[in-house]
Symmetry: C2
Subunit: 155 residues, 2 copies
Amino acid sequence: MTETSQQDASNEPSPEAQEVWELLIELSASRMRQRFSRTIAELQLSPPQAHALRQLEPGQPLPMRDLACGLACDASNVTGIADRLEKRGLVERQVSPSDRRVKTLVVTPAGVVTRERLLALLHQVPAPIATLSAGEQRLLRDVLRRILDTPDEQG
Amino acid sequence: MTETSQQDASNEPSPEAQEVWELLIELSASRMRQRFSRTIAELQLSPPQAHALRQLEPGQPLPMRDLACGLACDASNVTGIADRLEKRGLVERQVSPSDRRVKTLVVTPAGVVTRERLLALLHQVPAPIATLSAGEQRLLRDVLRRILDTPDEQG
DNA sequence: TATTGTTATACTCTATAACTATA
DNA sequence: TATAGTTATAGAGTATAACAATA
């Protein structure tokens, strides 16, 4: 077994960075995933439906094309997702005034209610974070902000 | 608004804790999700197939029931997921010696190769984490460890 | 010609319920 | 009787390719 570094991008990450990343994967794949699943099940939303609702800010019509991009899926899928949300009365299709090829989605009043319940549930701070000390919370917040501000060149 | 800095289980979380949680959601839903999708697409694995492969440690037969639990899905789904992995020669079904009702899954040699490539890709530390200072990395690691060690009573 | 949304197709995942073979 | 895995079914997500309307 040779000592091949798996990082073609020049140097190896520190063991601490490695562990940080694996802890984040663990957190995301287990706890956060469970919580998300439980939440959307409660509102009887599928994952893409929930993600779509999350992106549809009230009063801001979103072109279906853009939603496809936000959902990271092919545009053809958005037709069905929008169909089902529309059938439940949560969103509405509108033709864009500026480009008649474009259809936008807007949350209905009922959609706003569901969206707000969804966000309220999703954003409920889990105990393991709420019980960190004030100092730890600040530090964690600052580091996470920096991580999200740093572009990721597909490491 | 009262000056709640500590959590009595019924109190509001601090604004810092709130932001930490929302930053984690953002990180998980955008960056980590994209990276996971790109990775499994490269290996032509579906999300549940990748999760299954991740859980199948070489040389450790896993009852299909347990895999269903690990995937957080109904047991009936595992049949199809295992079928497709088996058809690709990545896993094998074995009858448990201790209980002939139970079938276990084991990664084949080819499966081990794919699994290792998967893990190597998934675990590549993204630039935004690799470029944190050594102090920040240690701090982040310690806080994440604590978060994962703290039980989450469905906040 | 290029783009937007739709449709058709094929595959996968998902839960539910009924079935089998073991225990 | 209870449990593990399978099958049947129905619904939803996914990408690809072809299509209509619009630009």
